[in-house]
Symmetry: C2
Subunit: 211 residues, 2 copies
Amino acid sequence: MAGGKRQSDIVDVAESLFGARGYHATSMREMARELDLQAGSLYTHIGGKAELLAAIVERAAAAFDAAIAPIRASGDPAPKRLRAAIRAHLTVIARSRSAAAVYFDEWRHLNEPFASEIRKRRDDYEAAWRELIAEGVQAGELQAVDPALAARLCLSACNWSYQWLDPAGPLSPEAVADAFADMLLAGLSTSNSRNREPDHPVPSPTRGDRR
Amino acid sequence: MAGGKRQSDIVDVAESLFGARGYHATSMREMARELDLQAGSLYTHIGGKAELLAAIVERAAAAFDAAIAPIRASGDPAPKRLRAAIRAHLTVIARSRSAAAVYFDEWRHLNEPFASEIRKRRDDYEAAWRELIAEGVQAGELQAVDPALAARLCLSACNWSYQWLDPAGPLSPEAVADAFADMLLAGLSTSNSRNREPDHPVPSPTRGDRR
DNA sequence: CCTACCGATCGGTAGG
DNA sequence: CCTACCGATCGGTAGG
């Protein structure tokens, strides 16, 4: 699926409808109506419904990969990279909640070989987070947690945000990201007491400004 | 929908198929085949497909509510209650990942009034977590986080586990829950050192958070 | 619980 | 890009 203005319009509408109602609950006729077309006319521009799903999911996967690539390569300390990754991940979701919804919920309806390809891509993405955390543990910047579980904790918390994160809401995605990073890095409990000096060099715009 | 052995068999099969493939991707004929019935015969026992979905989602919502009710009433310190709630929540998910998948992913296909009822029930459930955290903040047992965001962080991390939590995996759901609780309570970073007492008392939240 | 069937709707195509 | 239409499948019902 390569180019064409009309085609990318169709992909956009599909993304929005698949995200809102789900892949199987969205008909080609609904999509056509949204574009003021007849159902059959869609097929001038696209190969089929399954192909649309694949295009949307690939695009979403690419957005996540691209968002964390520079962070991985930055050479910053692990806590700073982790904070940046959380922000990047949430920003991708906030930029298109529909795309995130399709990526997270509808990818299981992909045909082969797309399903396998995406599965691998997600595994690689998670591995990058795991590696980041493992490096931090190694360097003594992060506690001696299991990197696999810690990566899963961070990603789970971030992924689910597609359910509620609202760029037009009272808290910007960046503010949510910083708050999440604060809590994940510093912990919720007071009983393992921490000093109150700024502990990471990264400025956190929302600290002291949490609604 | 009230009782009948055959009926509960059907609900169980529906839960498993809806969870695996999604509501709209599952046909009544598939369900019938799984039960060695003809499609039409299902309707002796159930009212329809939509009714099945409602039954499954209600059952799941009730399981989550029941799991945290005794914890809310326990009077334990907030960190202990939070840990217990994480464990309870993950245990419900682990006990039936299909049910969790339907509850989290397919509830949007509910008709009214079920959709509204479930939305309210989920809001109330989240409010219980928020309240727990707010009490901990008030008592100085938890840091001065925004209870709404902290509740969301914990629930997000826990909810997403339906995607990967495997009771037959190397880590039991209880072990995962404890690891998640450890990380959420103590934080991932070493830089706010935990072996040091705070030089000032931990501040209470600036706005009176009573609820 | 089965056989037989309903109208509706699905994704997609032919031919222009 | 439209009209017209295809076969398949959907959830559900009638009648036994």
